[in-house]
């Protein structure tokens, strides 16, 4: 199912007669069957957007469509979405099993659909209860909770609780799945595993899925598209690699990429790009003279072994190894810092003078307002 937000705005009435606009005139289309990541800094309106799609928050202005259907006024129980809350929202009095089975057993629509599916089952199963049991167990297995089905939420660790919430959302096979930071409390292994599993389920069933995350790795590795918000305003939407490679503005460039992109001051003078005071390369387009910020990602800066013309000089100030790679900190001629990545076993030493280069197409040029004015 396609989800379309049309000029959607959400304003909260604060406790002291103040108003907070959490989402502003958001225009976004989420194509049917896609897995879309919602990214942005804390407090940018991700959860709010999700809640509006789910029908939990009223839309202050604008419209939301599921397919061709305007659901703006549709109550949440009629929207047929599945959701994982950022704070889990498990039923505290129910066991894990009951929590997962809750939507199956207690939603009329759902039950009808399940009964039908049960009837069409091949090979057929003996009874409906066993079918439910199987569904719950499958979901539990997926999130590795099979051993905990009898426990109450209070007896689970944080990550285990989160997994129950995921199982509960997935078990009902919704037509739209909304996940609010579903993996934030999981360890790396389980995280990768669960996200791959979500991806698999999503692919298999074609559920349109919106996925809030603050982890770009996650976003970049499983999402078909990402939507990037800042202060409730849409910044960019597109396939993750596309957005990564072609950030729409300085914010996106800075936000995506870990470690953060290198940003150094520079300027355009007579259609030439200056890195600090040093001339770097000539621009393919003509742009007015102005001070600019130049963004280059770590991995796009390499030692220049071929003596390229466009290389620039720097001094290694420190080297930090993290896991398999080293982060090398260098200083440009005018003192601006920059970082690059090298393999851990590279032979650079502190104090070395190196020549570095980056291909022009990996260099983003932003004006003073943070708008991207050029990427070759």
């Amino acid at each position: 199912m396609q989800v379309r937000l049309e000029q959607v705005t959400k304003t909260f009435a604060g406790s002291k007669n103040t108003q907070a606009t959490a989402v502003k005139e958001l225009d976004v289309t989420i194509a049917s069957g896609k897995l879309v990541g919602l990214l942005g800094p804390s407090g940018c309106g991700k959860s709010t957007t999700l809640f509006m799609i789910a029908g939990i928050h009223d839309v202050s202005e604008g419209h939301i469509y599921f397919g061709d259907h305007d659901v703006t006024a549709l109550p949440s129980d009629k929207r047929g979405v599945g959701i994982v809350f950022q704070n889990y929202a498990l039923y505290p009095h129910l066991t894990v099993w009951d929590n997962i089975a809750f939507p199956l057993l207690n939603a009329k629509e759902m039950k009808k659909r399940l009964k039908q599916r049960f009837a069409e089952l091949s090979p057929p199963m003996a009874n409906f209860k066993a079918y439910i049991q199987r569904l719950v167990e499958e979901a539990a297995k997926l999130v590795e909770l099979t051993a905990y089905l009898d426990r109450k939420p209070a007896e689970l660790s944080g990550g285990q609780q989160q997994r129950v919430a995921i199982a509960r959302a997935i078990v009902k096979n919704p037509s739209i799945l909304l996940l609010d930071e579903p993996l934030s409390n999981l360890d790396a292994r389980l995280r990768v595993q669960t996200r791959d599993e979500i991806k698999r389920i999503q692919k298999q069933t074609g559920i349109t899925t919106v996925f809030v995350t603050h982890d770009q790795d996650e976003a970049l590795s499983i999402c078909d598209e990402v939507i990037i918000l800042k202060d409730g305003v849409l910044q960019q939407q597109g396939p993750p690699q596309e957005v990564y490679d072609h950030p729409a503005n300085q914010f996106v460039a800075e936000f995506l990429g870990s470690p953060q992109i290198n940003l150094v001051g520079g300027s355009i003078k007579a259609n030439k790009l200056y890195l600090g005071n040093e001339e770097w390369f000539a621009l393919p387009e003509s742009l007015s003279d102005q001070p600019v910020n130049i963004g280059v990602r770590y991995e796009n800066i390499r030692p220049d072994r071929e003596n390229r013309k466009q290389a620039f000089e720097a001094t290694v100030t420190s080297i930090a190894r993290t896991g398999g790679t080293s982060t090398v900190q260098v200083r440009l001629a005018d003192g601006q810092p920059m970082r690059l990545h090298r393999d851990s076993d590279d032979v650079l030493q502190e104090g070395d003078r190196v020549r570095l280069y980056a291909r022009p197409r990996t260099v983003y040029i932003f004006n003073a307002e943070g708008e991207k004015i050029l990427q070759c």
Partner: protein, 276 residues
């Protein structure tokens, strides 16, 4: 460690003192119920009956058809508790959770009815009940007790404390309001619901004027009427020892009822499934 212990000790001591003070009338009731009519008149009164007269309980039972009164009361109480809990829960849920027009107004109407002294309503209600042809009927003893604004207010207050997220997630899952009420709100609000049930029961147990007015048939009397009427002589003198013996017997079911439900009152609202 030492202060810890001293503190604990102080808490228990304070509680014990408070409990003792609270229980003086209770003790007095039992004390009186075991005295002979002769000893009852002794001045100053004896703190412990010189001779425990359990005969009083038998006498009380013989004096009035207490078992009948008691079973009547139990029947009415069960009916009232069942119906009024249902009515109250539904209304309280609507007030606590649902959105509808005129909510504030209706809620204030409910609150408003708490303010009128019950005694004033009896006159009109008597007319209503007699017009309905309910005189001397179980309905007349049950139906008017099925609405209690105090309980609606109490449950609304409790229901409001169930975390919003639980409601939201069940809505998103397509769970109907009723199911949500049944499966989430009720289990989480056990303690308050049980409290309202106990209050309703006590209400029935203690109510005197209305059942007295509405029943003229001895077969439908409740214990409170029995208590008042059975042990009063024509000269207005009361046989306290029998009355207290009867009173003691009458409250036994209430105490048992409370003991049975006590653990629910102390169960509280589980909030373990939420982060934040």
């Amino acid at each position: 460690m030492k202060t810890q212990f001293a503190r604990k000790f102080a808490v228990y001591l304070l509680l014990t003192i408070a409990v003792s003070l609270m229980l003086v009338p209770f003790y007095w009731m039992i004390n009186t119920s075991l005295k002979s009519s002769v000893e009852l008149l002794r001045t100053p009164p004896t703190m412990i009956p010189a001779e425990l007269r359990f005969q009083n309980f038998l006498d009380a039972l013989i004096k009035a058809p207490f078992l009948r009164y008691l079973s009547n009361t139990v029947f009415v109480a069960i009916a009232v508790v069942a119906v009024s809990t249902a009515v109250t829960v539904l209304a309280a849920f609507a007030f606590a959770r649902l959105r509808f027009r005129g909510k504030t107004l209706l809620f204030f109407a409910v609150l408003g009815t708490m303010m009128v002294p019950q005694e004033m309503l009896i006159i009109t209600n008597f007319m209503t009940v007699s017009k309905l042809g309910w005189m001397n009927s179980w309905q007349a003893l049950i139906v008017p007790y099925c609405i209690n604004p105090f309980n609606i207010y109490l449950l609304r207050q409790t229901f409001k404390q169930v975390p919003d997220e639980l409601y939201l997630v069940s809505r998103v899952d397509g769970v109907s309001h009723f199911r949500y009420l049944q499966k989430v709100v009720l289990p989480l609000s056990k303690s308050s619901i049980v409290t309202t049930m106990i209050l309703s029961t006590i209400w029935i147990w203690d109510s005197y004027a209305w059942p007295n007015l509405i029943t003229t048939d001895d077969g439908k009397r409740l214990v409170s009427n029995g208590l008042q009427n059975a042990f009063t002589s024509d000269t207005g003198r009361i046989q306290y020892e029998l009355q207290m013996a009867a009173a003691t017997m009458v409250i036994v079911p209430l105490v048992l009822f409370f003991l049975l439900l006590r653990k629910y009152i102390l169960s509280g609202m589980d909030k373990g499934g939420l982060k934040g």
